[in-house]
Amino acid sequence: MASVVLSEAEKVYILHGVQDDLRTDGRGCEDYRGIEVETDVVSNTTGSARVKIGHTDVLVGVKAEMGTPKLEHPKEGYLEFFVDCSANATPEFEGRGGEELGTEIANMLYKIFDNKSSMDRESLCILPGEHCWVLYVDVLLLECGGNLFDTISIAVKSALFNTRIPKVRVLEDDEGSKEIELSDDPYDCMRLNVEHVPCIVTLSRIGHRHVVDATLQEEACSLASLLISVTSKGTLTCMRKIGKGSLDPESIFEMIETGKRVAKFLHLSLQNVLSQEESLGKKRHKIGFLR
C-alpha cells in the first residue's frame, strides 16, 4: 500500500494532536474529510460512480451481463469484484506491485457481500438454474491518499445505486422451449435495492485513541486498525484487524461502538446525497473524475 515516511517528531506531533481530539487538518477523531460523490460518470457501464475523499480517488464501474447461476444458489444472481491498482496512484503499483493489495480488497468486498441481508440477489435471477444477471464490479484506484477501504465501499454502493439493468421477460412456447426477450424501451429498467449494502469504516488506533478516515500520515502512525462493515440497520457484516500491531480487547469493543455510530451517519448522508443528485435529473452538471 502507498505509504509515507515520517520522522519521529512528526509522529509525536500527530499523536499528541489525536490525544487532544484535534487532528492536523482540524478534524476531530470521529470526523470524515469532505466526501465527493458523483454517479453516472462512465457511459459504457450499467452503473458507475466516482468517490473522492481528500486525496483518495476511486472510480467504480458496474457491468451487468447474463450468466448461469451458481449451482449452490440456483435462484440467485451474483457479483464479481475486481480491483485494479493502477500505477497512476503510486509508483509502487507498477507491474505486478498492486496485485496483492488488489486481491486483498476484492476478497474483502466478497466477504462484506457474502450474506443475505446485504443485497437481494434473488432479484438478479432471470430463470432459476439457467439464467441470471452477473454484476461485474470493477474498482479503479486513481489516487491513494489514505483510507482506501472506506472510499471503495462508498463508491461501490453509489455505483450499485446508479445501476440500471434492462428488463427481460421469459417467454415459453407450446413445446416448452424458453426464450428471453429484451424490452424494446431502453428506459424500461430494473433498479437495485441498495438500502442495506454495507459501508466499511476503518478505525485506526493511534496512541490510546482511535480515529476514522485516517490520512496517509496518520496511517503511518498507526500500528493496527480495525475494518468493520456495517449496514444501515447497524448489522455487522464483516470485521477484520489489519496492521502489524495488536489491539486491547476493550478497545476493540469501543471501536465497534464508534464504527456503528459513524456508519449510521455515513449511510444517512450518502443516501441523502444520492437521492438529491438523482432528483436533479438531466439538468445535472457533470463534473467527471480527477478534478
Binding site: 476478497n107 457474502d114 448489522t235 455487522l236 470485521m239 477484520r240 502489524k244 480487547p249
Partner: protein, 260 residues
C-alpha cells in the same frame, strides 16, 4: 500446491451429485460437546529434525504441521531495520472433503492473515536484516484450520528460540442462522453455516493480534463472540505451554549432579 497436469480432472463443467441431493435436516445445536467446549487437542513441539523449530497440532480431525527456518540473512531493502517474517500456509490437495482442488488463491490470503497475527508477538527489531520463514501445512481440514495453524506456527517459533513477547493462540467460532447459539471451535459442517469468526490472542498480555469475521452480527452478538473466542484461547494456552516445556526438556537434558 501446483496442479498435476497429468491428472484427468473430468469435464470442466462437472458438479458433485451431492448438490442435487435433498439437503439433510441438520440437527440444531451440536452433539457430543457443549457450545463453548473446544474439541480435544493433541500438541507436540520440536518433532522435525531439519527445522529450527517445529510443531504439530491435532484438534479433532484438523491436523496442522508447522516448521520454522531462520533467522537467515536477507539483506533488507529500503532501510528497513526490522527483521522480516515470511508466512506460508498451505492446504494439502486432499485435505478437504469434496473434489480435489488446489486452493492457491485462498491460501495466499490465509498466509497474509497468519503473518499479521504472528507479527505482533515477535521482537523482529532484534533480528536486523534477517528473515524468519514459517511454513504451515494443513494435512487434514475438518474445520477451524486457520486458528489451529496460528497456534501451531507460534509454538514452532517459540520452539525455534525466536525472541517473542508471548505465544499467539487462535480460536474459531461459528453461529448458525439467526438467533442460534455461538459455537466455539466449529468443525467443517458447522463452519459452513451462517457467520464465522476467527481471533488470535496473546493471552499473557491480553492483546488481540488477529481478528476476522464474516456473516451477519446483530447488536451485541459480535462482542459476545469476541469474548467467547478469548475464553477459548485462554483454555488452550496452558496446553501449548506444557508441550513447549516438554520439547525444551527433551532438547536440553536435565543437568546431572557432578561426581567428586
Amino acid at each position: 500446491m501446483p496442479g498435476d497436469s497429468r491428472r484427468v480432472r473430468g469435464p470442466e463443467e462437472s458438479q458433485s451429485p451431492l448438490l442435487y441431493a435433498v439437503p439433510a435436516q441438520l440437527p440444531v445445536g451440536r452433539t457430543g460437546r457443549g457450545a463453548g467446549e473446544p474439541r480435544a487437542v493433541f500438541v507436540r513441539a520440536g518433532l522435525l529434525s531439519h527445522a529450527a523449530g517445529s510443531a504439530y497440532i491435532e484438534a479433532g480431525g484438523t491436523k496442522v504441521l508447522c516448521a520454522v527456518s531462520g533467522p537467515r540473512e536477507w539483506g533488507g531493502a529500503g532501510g528497513e531495520r526490522r527483521g522480516r517474517l515470511l508466512c506460508d500456509l498451505r492446504w494439502a490437495p486432499f485435505s478437504r472433503a469434496g473434489a480435489w482442488s488446489s486452493s492457491a488463491a485462498s491460501s495466499r490470503q490465509a498466509g497474509l492473515l497468519l503473518q499479521e497475527s504472528l507479527e505482533a508477538s515477535l521482537r523482529l527489531e532484534r533480528y536486523p536484516r534477517a528473515e524468519l520463514a514459517v511454513w504451515a501445512l494443513v494435512l487434514e481440514d475438518r474445520g477451524s484450520a486457520l486458528p489451529a495453524a496460528v497456534s501451531c506456527a507460534s509454538l514452532a517459533l517459540a520452539d525455534a528460540g525466536v525472541e517473542m513477547y508471548d505465544l499467539v493462540v487462535g480460536a474459531g467460532l461459528s453461529r448458525g442462522a439467526e438467533g442460534e447459539e455461538l459455537r466455539l471451535d466449529p468443525d467443517d459442517s458447522e463452519e459452513e453455516a451462517g457467520a464465522t469468526m476467527y481471533l488470535s490472542l496473546l493471552p499473557a498480555l491480553n492483546q488481540v493480534s488477529g481478528l476476522l469475521c464474516s456473516g451477519e452480527w446483530e447488536g451485541d452478538t459480535s462482542v459476545a463472540a469476541v469474548r467467547m473466542c478469548m475464553e477459548g484461547c485462554q483454555r488452550l494456552y496452558p496446553v501449548l505451554q506444557q508441550s513447549l516445556v516438554k520439547a525444551t526438556k527433551r532438547k536440553i537434558p536435565a543437568p546431572q549432579p557432578q561426581s567428586g
